[in-house]
């Protein structure tokens, strides 16, 4: 494991992002609870956001001039804000679903009826 011996670099951050991302995917795939699925989405978004932040830090990489700089930060900010919006809507849908179907199991929501 050469990465463990090195000072922290971009790759380290990318690894964390990858793990978050994969966890999010698995979470989305396995959870039957609508809110559980939502949590998976949050993990995926954060995985992406970690990557953005990592790419924008010039001191983490050998080719500092290629760093994203502020753009990465700004993209992350947009991700955060949009994730909040997404969570609000998704939660509203989940509650609406819960109110009409009296369950939160997404597997049972297979009809196109409100």
């Amino acid at each position: 494991m050469p990465l463990l011996n090195q000072p922290v670099s971009l790759s380290h951050y990318l690894l964390v992002g990858a793990i978050l991302f994969a966890c999010g995917i698995v979470c989305m795939a396995t959870k039957r609870n609508a809110i559980g699925v939502l949590m998976g989405v949050e993990l995926v978004l954060n995985g992406a956001a970690v990557n953005f932040v990592a790419f924008s830090a010039p001191f983490l990489r050998g080719d500092a001039e290629l760093a994203l700089g502020l753009d990465g930060h700004l993209m992350t900010l947009f991700v955060i804000v949009l994730a909040a919006a997404e969570a609000a809507v998704a939660l509203a849908i989940a509650l609406c679903y819960y109110n009409t179907h009296a369950t939160i199991d997404v597997d049972q929501g297979d009809e196109l009826r409100g």
């Binding site: 990465l3 090195q6 000072p7 670099s9 971009l10 790759s11 951050y13 990318l14 690894l15 992002g17 990858a18 793990i19 978050l20 991302f21 994969a22 966890c23 999010g24 995917i25 698995v26 979470c27 795939a29 396995t30 959870k31 609870n33 809110i35 559980g36 949590m39 949050e42 993990l43 954060n46 970690v50 932040v53 990592a54 830090a57 001191f59 983490l60 990489r61 050998g62 001039e65 290629l66 700089g69 502020l70 930060h73 900010l77 947009f78 955060i80 804000v81 949009l82 909040a84 919006a85 969570a87 609000a88 809507v89 939660l91 509203a92 849908i93 509650l95 819960y98 109110n99 939160i104």
Partner: protein
Amino acid sequence: MINWHTCFFLLFATITCAFAVAVVVSANVVRMAVCLIASLAAVSGLYFLAAADFVAAMQLMIYVGGTLVLLVFGVMLTARGPFVSMKITPANWLMAGLAGGALLILLLCAATSVDAWKTAAVAASAPAAEGGHTVAPIGMALLGIRVDALEQANPALRGGIAGYLLPFEIVSVHLLVVLVGAAHLARARRRRRPAEAVPDASRSA
């Protein structure tokens, strides 16, 4: 070389990943929410380490303090009896595990594929300890002025750098629409119970 940046990176990265895995593994939705909170709070620590102080504060404030409270609220509204923990079939696990594992391997390969990414340019602790001082530039960028890129050497990059005024506006309008939509969606159908449909004297008084 062990320095504090490494130390804290390992700490936060471990917390992040461990709790992310816990979110996946845990069957109880309330515990999932708790793990998610811990995981995302640690992510904000990673942002601090990557000298993205404003983003880190925002992550804490909006994500952890706002979105996740909302999520927990949703959990509490719906988590009762059978929905607290729902069983997942092994086949489901297998499929998801395979897909996730494949994706993870792919991403790991990609993450370690570029040599320049594996070597930190400077001792990483110094800029991180200083914090990024990104607040003012980010604010200016959102207003369409890139104070950080004025001396950008690479003309290709300088050409590609634009202000973020328009996206900022779009996002703000988007947020408004989303909030209105969410408020509308969450309205429950009005129920009438005969016992309550009768107006009692106290209300007409």
